[in-house]
């Protein structure tokens, strides 16, 4: 039954992807790519990747859609249609088919999906499953690998997010170049939902609960799917919702710009700082075991701190990016 469902979902993915490429209405394409991400997330869930499914849903369907829509508001909603432009282009088609064909050719010697004897399940992975209870002592192995065994990757990931944050700030400029506006003008220019009573009342009621959920995901990542990244995305989503409902200016008043910039930098520094403290205490970089008397307690402490760092930077960057786009919209 699961198999049939999986095949159905995967086929649907392909159909949606074709629809995205063919649509000349970019608004429709963005909405479809949100659906694409949700379908992808369901597939991941069927393949036992709960953490990845949560992230793909929050990032692909949530954050990416918001970003694309803000960008569309600033550019154009339709692709320009050229005479004969709808036709397929041959050279790209050949390149794409060659690439895809090569991969399909390779698949016939791939290990079968789900085969427990596949090489992937032999060498490194079983070691993680066997040793996590003793070495890290938390139930979620994904968090253990992410935060500790391969913590350096995650440090890199935080810095990728940080780079994107300062990059968007640098490219879209730091400040308003707007002259002072009266509150009536701001009201008139706001693209917010402030005038719609029902979304506003319902939405405002939800914001605290979303924030609470973000905190749960942040601190419960050791036991269930979740962690700093997902929590950061969810917390940012709550503030973004508030900004959409109440107007970007009130959203910025809630979390002012200087605070955001400090958040962006300090989360990354917290993560790296934990690593440096480990070095000062005589371990390797990111060797959390030296942080406490009992190594596994040190691991707990280390994971807690670095996940916090991830959460702070991610929510800071997402809000920074959102505001950078929204500010353009109000020009």
């Amino acid at each position: 039954m699961t198999l049939v469902f999986g095949v159905f979902l995967l086929t649907l993915l392909v159909i949606v992807a074709v629809a995205i490429v063919r649509s000349t209405n970019l608004f429709a394409a963005v909405m479809l790519s949100g659906i694409f991400s949700l379908l992808m997330a369901v597939n991941f869930f069927l393949l036992d990747a709960a953490d990845v499914a949560l992230t793909e849903a929050a990032v692909g369907a949530g954050v990416a859609t918001v970003l694309f829509l803000s960008a569309l508001a600033l550019t154009a909603e339709h692709e320009q249609v050229r005479p004969g432009g709808a036709a397929l282009q041959w050279l790209p088609l050949v390149v794409a088919f060659a690439t895809g064909g090569l991969l399909i050719y390779a698949t016939f010697q791939n290990p079968v999906i789900g085969d427990p004897n596949a090489p992937v399940h032999q060498h490194v992975a079983p070691w993680y499953l066997e040793n996590t209870p003793e070495l890290i002592d938390i139930p979620n192995v994904v968090t253990a690998v992410l935060g500790s065994f391969r913590g350096f990757d995650t440090l890199g990931e935080v810095f990728v997010v940080f780079t994107a944050g300062i990059g968007v700030l640098s490219i879209l400029g730091l400040r308003h170049t707007l002259v002072e506006m009266t509150s009536a003008e701001i009201d008139a220019r706001q693209r917010s939902l402030r005038h719609h009573l029902i979304p506003r009342v319902v939405g405002r009621g939800m914001v605290p609960f979303i924030l609470l959920f973000a905190l749960y995901v942040q601190f419960h990542g050791e036991y269930s799917p979740g962690g700093g990244f997902q929590a950061g995305a969810i917390a940012a989503a709550a503030i973004i919702l508030y900004s959409l409902l109440e107007g970007d200016d009130r959203g910025r008043a809630l979390v002012p710009e200087w605070l955001l910039q400090i958040m962006v930098a300090s989360g990354a520094l917290l993560f790296g700082g934990v690593g440096v403290v480990c070095m000062l205490l005589g371990g390797s970089f990111l060797d959390y075991s030296v942080l406490a008397e009992v190594p596994s307690e040190g691991q707990h402490l280390g994971l807690l701190l670095i996940e916090l760092g991830v959460g702070i930077t991610v929510s800071g960057v997402l809000l920074t990016v959102f505001h950078a786009f929204a500010r353009r919209a109000s020009r």
Binding site: A106, Q109, V120, V124, G167, M279, D287
Partner: protein, 496 residues
């Protein structure tokens, strides 16, 4: 805490962790100063690290204290040490050189972000070179790429934005190809650690997913390395980036991709995949020859000085790939030395161009006519570095070309043709360097053109330091050739 043992990780985290601090500095000139000092510190780490590798052999560092392949490993040997010297050295000289030029182009408001991004590029490239883990490499590849896009987009010209966008698209496609290749290899071997992968790939070296993976990794990295014919993003990216940033990026950003390409192809694939040697030679030799012939030929007809040098880089990357494709110790030594020497000459050339642009406000040849008399010191350095690029004896460029030509002659009948190709390409280099010299010294200043005077002393001092480096490393080749020979021997160790 024993600092020496921690050197490999310090190499990465010194620039990486300073970047967030720099992004918060709001006092004018302070971000620049902080970035320059940090970059200098990273260079000092690289020098110490090289000393240790020369004395005690390759260094390994287990992150988080987890033994590889379960944890991520940093691995620094002679080859990586050389690259670390190039990256941190190029960054430090470009920063020390570029204050005035960058102030003019980037401005104070963006400076904190710009210099933070600069440090992230340094950290990302160092990470690519120092890591011993295939996936970790991808993460650092992306850090350096994203930060590079930020640097290029900071230029005042609006065409920089299109150049950034194209680079972003092609760079991401290249990185994703690499990720696909790593995924397929991981599927067949169950490991991500490069050394471990080398051991385990032998059993499955005949299987299609591994062969396809080799193709994807090679093409992805070739895109990142701007290898002909996948160089389309590079000349414009170099042309429109802020001038001092070009001097830094041209010296080392494609080098890191070439480093990974050499490392993967020679140590992971070559000993274990059937027919890989023939495939490498058959694939790279024709492309390398086309790269240096076409790259040089296009450069001859280019009127924009920076784009001319960009196409010249396409040609120089061709030389390096030829050295890889011939698969002999001599050729590989030549290729690796050329990584270093090309960084020296290109960073000097682009710095000279930055000086010209700083005074003349343009990098189009007609606007620079007659600048030789007004800016003799700048043009002198340009000519010196140009001679090195042509490969005149007693310059650094001669050393690497000499090795490549010797390796070609050793290769057999086809080798004579290849050596001929290198000579033709060098003659084309004479032609385009001459074009600049002629405009600078033998043409009058056009009517109504901006009055020129010599570049500021701070810029000139660094420019000449690097230009003289071209002579120094053309005469005293102990360090560069020593590292390169050792690296080539290790890389081909169990291969040929």
């Amino acid at each position: 805490m024993n600092l020496d043992a921690h050197l490999p990780i310090l190499q990465i985290i010194v620039p990486l962790m300073t970047a967030p601090v720099v992004s918060l500095l709001r006092v004018p000139s302070l971000p620049w100063a902080a970035a320059t000092v940090t970059s200098g510190l990273a260079f000092a780490v690289a020098v110490t690290l090289t000393g240790q590798v020369l004395a005690g052999g390759p260094m390994s560092y287990a992150l988080g204290g987890w033994v590889p392949p379960y944890g991520i490993e940093l691995y620094v040997d002679h080859f990586s040490a050389l690259l670390l010297l190039i990256i941190t050295g190029a960054s430090t000289v470009a920063l020390a050189f570029g204050k005035a030029s960058l102030d003019q182009e980037v401005g104070h408001e963006r400076a904190p972000m710009f210099y933070a991004a600069w440090l992230l590029v340094v950290a990302g490239l160092c990470g690519i070179v120092a890591t011993g883990d295939a996936f970790n490499l991808f993460v650092f590849l992306e850090i350096s790429s994203l930060a590079t896009y930020v640097l290029i987009a900071s230029a005042p010209d609006r065409r920089a934005l299109m150049a950034t966008f194209r680079y972003l698209i092609l760079g991401t496609v290249g990185a994703t190809f690499y990720l696909i290749g790593v995924g397929l290899i991981y599927m067949m071997t169950g490991t991500l650690n490069l050394a471990d992968m080398t051991d385990r790939i032998a059993e499955v070296g005949e299987l299609r997913p591994v062969l396809v993976a080799a193709g994807f990794i090679t093409v992805g990295l070739a895109l990142k390395a701007a290898m002909f014919p996948l160089h389309a993003w590079m000349p414009n990216a170099y042309t429109f980036a802020p001038h001092a940033a070009t001097a830094f990026l041209a010296a080392c950003s494609t080098k890191a991709a070439i480093y990974v390409l050499i490392r993967f192809d020679l140590t992971v694939f070559l000993p274990h995949l059937s027919d890989h040697a023939e495939q490498v030679s058959g694939f790279f030799i024709p492309l390398a020859v086309l790269a240096f012939l076409i790259g040089s030929a296009v450069a001859v007809f280019e009127r924009n000085l920076k784009r001319m040098l960009g196409y010249s880089s396409v040609a120089q990357i061709g030389y390096i790939l030829l050295g890889l494709a011939l698969l002999s110790p001599l050729a590989l030594t030549g290729a690796i030395v050329h990584l270093f020497n090309h960084a020296l000459m290109k960073s000097a050339l682009f710095m000279a161009v930055a000086c010209l642009a700083f005074r003349a406000g343009s990098v189009q040849l007609p606007d620079l006519a007659g600048c030789g008399r007004a800016m003799p010191l700048t043009m002198g350095a340009f000519v010196l570095a140009g001679l090195s690029m042509i490969g005149v004896p007693l310059t650094a460029g001669f050393v690497s070309k000499w090795y490549l030509i010797l390796a070609c002659l050793e290769y057999g009948p086809l080798g004579y043709v290849l050596a001929g190709g290198i000579l033709v390409s060098s003659l084309l280099a004479v032609a385009y360097v001459w074009k600049v010299v002629e405009a600078a010294y033998f043409q009058p200043r056009p009517e109504g053109a901006r009055e020129l005077r010599e570049a500021p002393p701070a810029m000139l001092a660094v420019l000449w330091l690097v230009a003289l480096g071209n002579v120094w490393f053309g005469i005293d080749t102990d360090l560069t050739l020593g590292l390169a020979e050792q690296a080539a021997a290790t890389l081909l160790g169990d291969g040929s």
